[in-house]
Amino acid sequence: MEPIIKYQDVKKVYGEKTIVEHFNLSIEKGEFLTIIGSSGSGKTTILKMVNGLIIPDEGTVFVEGKDILKEDLIQLRRNIGYAIQGSVLFPNMTVEKNIAYVPNLLNDKKEKTNQAVQKWIRIAGLEEELLNRYPDELSGGQQQRVGIARALAASPEILLMDEPFGAVDEITRGELQREIKRIHEETNITILFVTHDINEAMTLGSKVLVMNAGAIDQYGTPEEIMSLPKTDFVRKLVANSRK
């Protein structure tokens, strides 16, 4: 089967500094890929290449077999869910408007959009009375849930999530993790999930990508990573996860 996302010899440089180089990776449809690595290792960079927010200096990124630079990027992005790092909501819009953002960009059929909003607040575990609130009237956990619902509202094939559960307490984090896992199982969506928490990476991922200084240290199932860590860096990570 053709991979849904494919990086082909990708390179990204900022000034003198090479961030990633010779980056090759294929992701199968329906995968839940967690990307873990130290801070600054290039996780966000890799993620943003999928929806063209970052364009590689060399190499090609294919989505569903097509070179994204030959596609209409605007259209592509509307069909890829994106939960930005810190799940920043639009402060000028109510929860409802936030969630309806992409459906509104895609069509102006009110009813369809309303249905999508209703469906996704339920799936994301939000109460309906929150719909008319503004982001700063929500708790951290509620904001993250809205961020997820917003990313999913147009029922995309691919979901990009950049440390989406960063700033919440342990209990909420656990709930959110269960939620996203359930969503993945129910929808068969392909998820790329950046995290710096090895436990999160292991629990959620069907595949785990370990990044270190702009290169792939190891790519495999959680079990493979756990039992056969390839480098010292991975070993250290895995050791941490057992604590």
Binding site: L76, Y82, G86, N92, Y101, V102, L160
Partner: protein, 520 residues
């Protein structure tokens, strides 16, 4: 307390006048605000989208902002003439800075991550702008807007300086005709207008704030209200300018009391004797130098002028002017401008020297040459201007050989008082000064002909005279009807007696038997 009563009487007695000014003020400010908002917000958006241009544009706008308002008006007058249009342009230019700056700041301060979220979800650049950036920047833009509105309403007070309407007219007229109550009333009404509008904006801002769940409704009301105001404004102005669509002459006057009176005299008698409608623009700041361009561009058809001003300032001659040169003056006006002089009313508003009656009697003074003999024992006082001008103090002393004991700078408004109190003995006066008619002073004859003659006359475009020959008859009627004493007396009634210029003009025409009703 007296002043307060005076103000109240003024407002009640001249309700129409003030309401009209209020309306004009509102109209001028409102138009400028709309123009500045549209251009300012657009510019602010453009430079925030194309940051490269922001430094230059903001620099230019900042620079323009530092030009003093009077100077900016002076710069604009050659291009857009005298009146409302120039005022609106100037006000819009000033109002631009707060709008551009706040729009720019508001937009550039929007959190980068929010913008990236919108971009990552597939918004076009335009969608990011109107769905994200502008709504988030709105409170900052709104605060700039409120500042700008208050500032524009206040600044519109200077519009009258260049012959535009508005409450500044009351301030300016109050200053030039020594009517403090009128000046204060004008200022107070501007302040109140600014406060009320700002209060209303604050209220609407609160109502349409994002915490208010009914904001859609408020927005609709607000938009509806704005559009309604705009339509009322435009319609109102159309009706107002339609009123006089037939035969019109436009008269301008300078900002001095007697010109206000002459303006009213001309208006009343022309409108009585002919079917011409007179549009009177009173008290144009800068006087001749700003009225002449208006005459040349055809914005004005006539204005009262003084012969020596025409000779020296307009035609550019140097040296003393006397009335034997009148026909030459007229000829040069006709050749250079195609304007002519008509209807001299008889008085001359020239410089002269005056001494208190006491001093005159003590030394037996009748002429300036008499004064020379005793000048060593006397103190001379004049306003700053008289000492500075080339045909002023220095040259005068040279010609007459004055050697005053002492010389003093005296404020123009306090000169007469200074003479009364014996602080100065000799002063310069204008021969139609309102205070002359009551003051205990004697004017000394200018026996060496040092001071230029300044007879009043009407400068009129010849084209207008050809179009409306009936004006000739009107001017004829007015010739030699007012001598210096009579003009001084009328000035006095306005400046000290606080009479309305219109009433003084009417009484004058009545007494001269020039009104139709009075003939019978």
């Amino acid at each position: 307390m007296d002043l307060l009563k005076e103000m109240i009487d003024l407002i009640i007695g001249r309700k129409e006048f003030f309401l009209n000014l209020l309306w004009e003020h509102f109209y001028i400010s409102f138009s400028s605000i709309v123009i500045a908002s549209v251009i300012g917000i657009t510019l602010g958006i453009v430079i925030s989208e194309y940051r490269g241009s922001s430094k230059i544009i903001l620099g230019v706008i900042n620079f323009i902002y530092t030009i003093p308002s009077i100077a900016l008006l002076g710069i604009l007058i050659p291009f857009s003439g005298i009146g409302n249009v120039t005022a609106m342009i100037a006000l819009s230019i000033y109002a631009l800075l707060p709008m551009v700056r706040n729009t720019f700041t508001g937009i550039t301060n929007v959190d980068e991550r929010v913008i990236e979220a919108a971009r990552g979800m597939g918004s076009t650049r335009f969608q990011i702008l109107y769905k994200i950036k502008i709504p988030i920047a709105l409170p900052v833009i709104m605060s700039g807007f409120r500042n700008m509105v208050t500032m524009t309403i206040a600044l519109a007070g200077i519009a009258s300086f260049i012959g535009a309407g508005g409450l500044g007219t009351a301030i300016y007229r109050g200053i030039t005709t020594n009517n403090t109550a009128m000046t204060l009333t004008g200022s107070l009404m501007i302040a109140i207008l600014a406060l009320v509008v700002d209060g209303m904006l604050g209220f609407f801002e609160k109502m349409s704030g994002r915490r208010n769940r009914k904001k859609r409704k408020v927005r609709i009301i607000l938009c509806g209200g704005m559009i309604a105001l705009l339509i009322i404004g435009i319609a109102g102005n159309m009706i107002r300018s339609n009123q006089n669509s037939e035969k019109i002459v436009r008269i301008a006057t300078k900002p001095v009391t007697e010109q206000y009176i002459i303006g009213e005299i001309l208006k009343e008698i022309i409108e009585q004797d002919t079917d011409i409608t007179v549009e009177l623009t009173q008290g144009i700041g800068g006087g001749t130098s700003n009225i002449m361009p208006g005459m040349q561009s055809g914005e004005f058809d006539m204005y009262p002028e003084y012969t020596c001003t025409g000779w020296n300032l307009v035609l550019g001659h140097t040296g003393v002017y006397d009335e034997s040169m009148y026909s030459k003056l007229r000829k040069e006006y006709e050749e250079s401008y195609d304007f002519t002089w008509k209807g001299q009313m008889g008085f001359s508003n020239a410089y002269a020297l005056a001494v208190s009656k006491e001093v005159a009697e003590k030394y037996g003074l009748k002429t300036c040459s008499d004064l020379q003999k005793v000048s060593g024992q006397l103190v001379f006082g004049a306003e700053y201007d008289f000492f500075e001008r080339p045909d002023g103090y220095g040259k005068m002393c040279e010609i007459y050989g004055f050697t005053f004991k002492n010389v003093r700078d005296v404020d123009i408004g306090l000169k007469y008082q200074a003479v009364n109190e014996g602080k100065i003995d000799v002063m310069d006066v204008f021969t139609t000064d309102g205070q002359l008619s009551k003051a205990q002073v004697v004017i000394l004859e200018d026996d060496k002909g040092y001071f230029s003659s300044a007879k009043e006359g009407i400068v009129i475009r010849r084209e207008v005279l050809q179009k409306y020959p009936e004006l000739e008859t009107v001017f004829k009627k007015l010739e030699n009807t007012v001598d210096n004493e009579a003009m001084a007396e009328m000035n006095y009634q306005v400046e000290e007696g606080k009479k309305d210029t219109k009433d003084v003009a009417h009484t004058f025409l009545l007494e001269k038997g020039l009104l139709k009703g009075a003939e019978e």
